[in-house]
């Protein structure tokens, strides 16, 4: 098993947006999906998890609606709003850019410098 990683600032929000973009999910579902995709390497602080969801919802990027869960209980299902889709796209690009730049710098060999 690989080592767990800590999340940098703001990353949790992108992950939540990404998780929901694959289909509507309730809070616990989002958590499970992120852990599943990351193969259990992300240790999410459950306390800050809901703060992130509330923030995203208050920005209008995700939208929660009450529905039935698998075991017939009331649960709030989140899905992306159009604004959320744009935000996810923009953030993904930004993230990729930044990761690329950082990776490029780190990959520089002494001869190239």
């Amino acid at each position: 098993m690989k080592k767990p990683v800590d999340l940098p600032q703001g990353a949790l929000e992108i992950l939540i947006l990404k998780a929901i973009s694959l289909g509507p999910l309730h809070g616990y579902g989002i958590l499970l999906r992120i852990q599943q995709i990351s193969e259990g390497r992300l240790e999410l602080l459950q306390g800050s998890f809901y703060s992130a969801i509330y923030r995203l919802e208050s920005h209008g990027w995700i939208k929660g609606e009450w529905g039935e869960s698998d075991n017939n209980r009331r649960a709030k299902f989140y899905q992306l709003t159009p604004a959320g889709k744009r935000q996810l796209k923009a953030e993904t690009e930004r993230w990729a850019d930044m990761a690329g730049v950082v990776a490029n710098i780190l990959n520089v060999n002494p001869e190239q410098a």
């Binding site: 809070g27 616990y28 809901y50 703060s51 509330y54 209008g60 869960s69």
Partner: protein, 898 residues
């Protein structure tokens, strides 16, 4: 940036908090349950699974706080907590809070009201469009430059002037006395003919119907009339279906087409019109040959300077003077005057002084609020220290105090704004004649913003002082000093300075009020020289327009007899004691100034006296005493020539030490000059002085009596006459009977609007200005005194409450009660005495300036010691009352209260 979605989330969290909180909790509970389920499936026992889940996710019932914080509501939640706490702490000291709020409210309210008044009267009094470009073309007679006159133009001259390059629009008007006919008794109305461009010149929309329009000039003038608001109220009781009705003026029918709004009261200077008619109806007549002249008002083009316009129009007017010399003085120049000028001259000083007064009041109000907040802050040092000790951040404490200060300031501001609407109307009610009829008082928003800003700033600054001091001082020290509170010296000094400053300003206001009251009293007790009580003036205008009637009164003898018949009819009315002819002779502004010569005396200077044309009953009717010689009899009255009576001022000025009776004078200018006037054969000849009468005010209430000459009215008669009527009771109640009596002499003879002499004194602008001054300054100074006393009282009370323990110890050690009383009251008394002393010095200096402004000589200085004494007594009382509580403390109780 705040998005719409965020606002929606806030809105939901605030308005539907219960539902939102329920949702948040349900969601978290679901999460915990699902997690527990998963853990159990992994083989963890239920109890432990539940515990783990809960540990990781936190308490369900605290999740709400996290939710509100996440969506950005934390600031709001804390602030609303501060507001609630602030309200509670204000309620804990209700008296000082209410006083602080009221102090601010009074300051803001009066300042805003007074400035709004000044704005309405001085800066923007007229409803006309571009009123700052409307000019009165005044002629300055170089022989008498201080009295500019207006001039009239004929129609061709008017058309010529219209071509001037600097004129955008030219209005011509003429005031005419007309008679309202068709009712049982004819009535006088003031009609103003306006050139038909009036509607666009004024730019004021009619309240009902329309204004006078260019089309009204068609076919020699349409018979239409536009009503003045007050006339409409008086005659039609303000009904709206007045349009289309007819009005009979001088037996001619006019159709009512419009009613002007209340603010339109053209023309303030020459008399407000009751009705407005198109100028084209004013037909020139051939017999008698009259080409009606009319007076212009000029609207200059934007951007044309006064000098340029004076130069261009001056050339036009000079040419007119060559054409119609009788309308112009010999040597003159043209001076365009903004229509505002007469009011600005009359009221500017009044209003500036009042503004000064209210600004003082605003400062006193702010100072008072600051004193209360400071005193309150001192008593809270310990509370704040505890809050800091248990972890409140400095910013949190500042915010808490800020919220409290803002609560007080804003309540004060709100009350002040509400109060200013009422206060702004007060001066207009006290002194209606000092202000143009047209000015409508509106609350001035920039000033309102200014005074609210000042008050709020004061509140904030002084509300924050305790927290700033706290952060400077040693926390442990403050905590320990606990009940034996030793307030910081800085705070005390600041308080004392504020109190002293407040006393200085209060004394200043009180002294000004004293001056104002003094000069008003002087004005009311001035000997008038005549008795105005139960006397009215009734005027008639003879019918010179009607050739048939004119025939009967054209000649001097006929006219004198006609006027005497009218007089006798008036005397015959029951309730009338006496009636006299007194043309242009009604005090306190009476007589027509004319030059005169004295026999056997070379005039070194141009000498002039006020000439009064009266009948012999005049002196008895007004109760003006005869000092020497005799009055003329009826036969002499009919003849009119060869005799004169002078007043005491005349006799003393020209014949001091000589016997005036038997001296000779003559009035070279007393001649009938035009067709409408008639004079006796020797009217300008030498006259013997046969008597001297007492001085009666003839140049205004507050100015010395000027030399006056009384002549029989038959020596010179204009086509009008006035009567002084003394009655047994309320004179104006007899107007109807007098009107009927005059009708018996000539069925068509109307009388002008009669007025009561006593009332005319009371509505005199000098009189009402002085009354306004004294009433408002008394009001301001009473408020200021009240504020200052309350401030003092609360400061001493606070200090007594804080030093209870100290007083207990002092008494236990044997200090006598009088000593305790003194040290308790000392805080306030010393500052109050210092303030009074400084105030007296300031007032001695400023008093000179003020007295000159109020045209009242040095009357104010006498009142200063009284006012200062009153202030000292009041401040002692305000300090000693709370200090008595300190002296009444029982030492044992005081020590136990630790």
């Amino acid at each position: 940036m705040i998005s719409l979605a965020q606002l929606r989330a806030w809105w939901a969290a605030i308005t539907h908090s219960a539902r939102v909180h329920g949702d948040v909790e349900t969601e978290l509970q679901f999460h915990i349950d699902a997690y527990t389920q998963d853990l159990m499936q992994r083989g963890i026992p239920e109890e432990e699974a539940r515990r783990t889940a809960r540990l990781e996710m936190g308490q369900v019932n605290t999740q709400n706080e996290k939710y509100r914080e996440s969506i950005g509501l934390r600031f709001l939640d804390e602030t609303s907590g501060d507001v609630r706490f602030g309200l509670r702490s204000i309620a804990r000291q209700p008296v000082s809070s209410v006083v602080a709020v009221l102090s601010l409210a009074l300051g803001i309210g009066t300042t805003t009201a007074m400035f709004s008044l000044i704005y309405a009267v001085l800066i923007h009094p007229f409803p006309y469009a571009d009123s700052d470009r409307i000019m009165n073309p005044a002629l300055v007679n170089e022989e008498r430059p201080q009295q500019p006159t207006w001039f009239a133009m004929t129609k061709p001259q008017f058309e010529t002037l219209r071509q001037a390059k600097s004129i955008e629009s030219l209005l011509g008007f003429r005031d005419v006395n007309m008679e309202l006919t068709g009712n049982d008794l004819p009535e006088d109305v003031n009609a103003i003919y306006l050139t038909e461009n009036a509607g666009s010149f004024f730019g004021v929309h009619a309240l009902l119907g329309r204004e006078i329009e260019l089309s009204d000039a068609q076919s020699g003038g349409q018979p239409i009339v536009v009503l003045n608001y007050k006339f409409w109220q008086r005659h039609y009781y303000g009904v709206s279906d007045v349009l289309g009705r007819t009005l009979m003026l001088d037996h001619v029918k006019y159709t009512i087409v419009g009613v002007m709004p209340r603010s339109f009261a053209f023309n303030d200077t020459l008399g407000v019109g009751d009705v407005y008619l198109p100028r084209s109806l004013l037909h020139d007549s051939l017999n008698p040959p009259v080409a009606w002249p009319y007076t212009p008002w000029i609207k200059l083009k934007a951007g044309v300077s006064l000098d340029a316009a004076n130069a261009e129009l001056g050339a036009f007017v000079r040419q007119f003077a060559n054409e119609t010399a009788e309308h112009f003085p010999k040597k003159f120049y043209l001076q365009l005057q903004p229509i505002l000028l007469p009011f600005a001259q009359n009221t500017r000083h009044t209003l500036m002084l009042l503004l000064g007064g209210v600004l003082l009041l605003l400062v006193i109000g702010c100072a008072n609020c600051s004193i209360l907040l400071l005193a309150r802050g001192q008593s809270r040092q310990q509370e704040l220290a505890i809050r800091r000790a248990i972890g409140a951040g400095r910013w949190r404490i500042i915010r808490q105090l800020l919220v409290e200060a803002l609560l007080i300031s804003f309540s004060g501001a709100l009350l002040g704004v509400a109060g200013s609407y009422w206060l702004a109307r007060l001066p207009l009610q006290l002194s209606p004649s000092s202000f143009p009829a047209e000015s409508v008082i509106r609350i001035n928003l920039p000033l309102l913003a200014f005074s609210v800003g000042l008050a709020v700033a004061c509140g904030i600054v002084f509300g924050l002082v305790p927290s700033l001091r706290l952060s400077r001082s040693d926390l442990a020290h403050t905590m320990q000093s606990s009940k034996h509170r030793i307030t910081g010296p800085g705070g005390k000094r600041r308080l004392n300075v504020l109190i002293a400053a407040q006393i200085v300003l209060t004394l200043l206001l009180m002294a000004t009020a004293g001056t104002a009251i003094g000069s008003f009293l002087r004005l009311t007790t001035i000997p008038l020289g005549y008795d105005p009580k139960n006397v009215m003036q009734v005027g008639i205008v003879l019918h010179f327009n009607d050739p048939k009637e004119w025939e009967h009164i054209k000649l001097r003898v006929d006219r004198a007899a006609f006027i005497d018949r009218v007089r006798q009819k008036i005397v015959s009315v029951p309730g009338v004691i006496s009636a006299a002819v007194g043309t242009d002779a009604t005090p306190p502004y009476s007589g027509v100034e004319r030059p005169f010569d004295i026999a056997d005396k070379v005039n070194s200077e141009e000498q002039a006296a006020r000439v009064h044309l009266v009948s012999p009953e005049f002196f008895a009717t007004l109760r003006i005493p005869l000092l020497r010689g005799r009055l003329w009899d009826q036969a002499e009255n009919v003849r009119g020539d060869f005799l004169a009576v002078v007043n005491d001022s005349f006799a003393r000025r020209y014949w001091l030490g000589q016997d005036p009776v038997g001296q000779e004078i003559r009035l070279p200018s007393l001649k009938g000059l035009n067709l409408l006037e008639t004079a006796s054969s020797e009217s300008a000849g030498w006259r013997h002085v046969i008597g001297v009468v007492g001085d009666a005010r003839d140049d205004g209430l507050d100015r010395p009596v000027v030399p006056a000459i009384y002549l029989p009215y038959t020596t010179y008669m204009a086509p009008y006459a006035q009567f002084e009527v003394r009655t047994q009771a309320e004179p104006l109640s007899l107007v109807h009977s007098i009107r009927a009596a005059v009708q018996e002499v000539s069925s068509d003879q109307q009388i002008g609007r009669p007025f009561d002499l006593q009332e005319s004194i009371e509505s005199d602008s000098q009189w009402s200005r002085q009354r306004l001054f004294s009433a408002l300054f008394s009001f301001f100074s009473a408020l200021a005194l009240l504020l200052a006393l309350v401030g003092l009282f609360s400061v001493v009370s606070f200090s007594v409450a804080q030093r209870t323990a100290e007083f207990g110890i002092r008494m236990a050690l044997g200090a006598p009660r009088t000593h305790i009383l003194w040290i308790a009251a000392r805080v306030g008394i010393v500052s109050a005495l210092t303030g009074t002393a400084v105030g007296m010095l300031v007032d001695l200096f400023l008093g000179r300036v003020l007295a000159r402004w109020m045209d009242s000589g040095l009357a104010g200085f006498a009142s200063l010691p009284h006012v200062a004494l009153l202030l000292v007594i009041c401040t002692f009382a305000a300090c000693l009352l709370p200090a008595r509580r300190a002296a009444a403390i029982h030492p044992a109780n005081a020590l136990r209260s630790e």
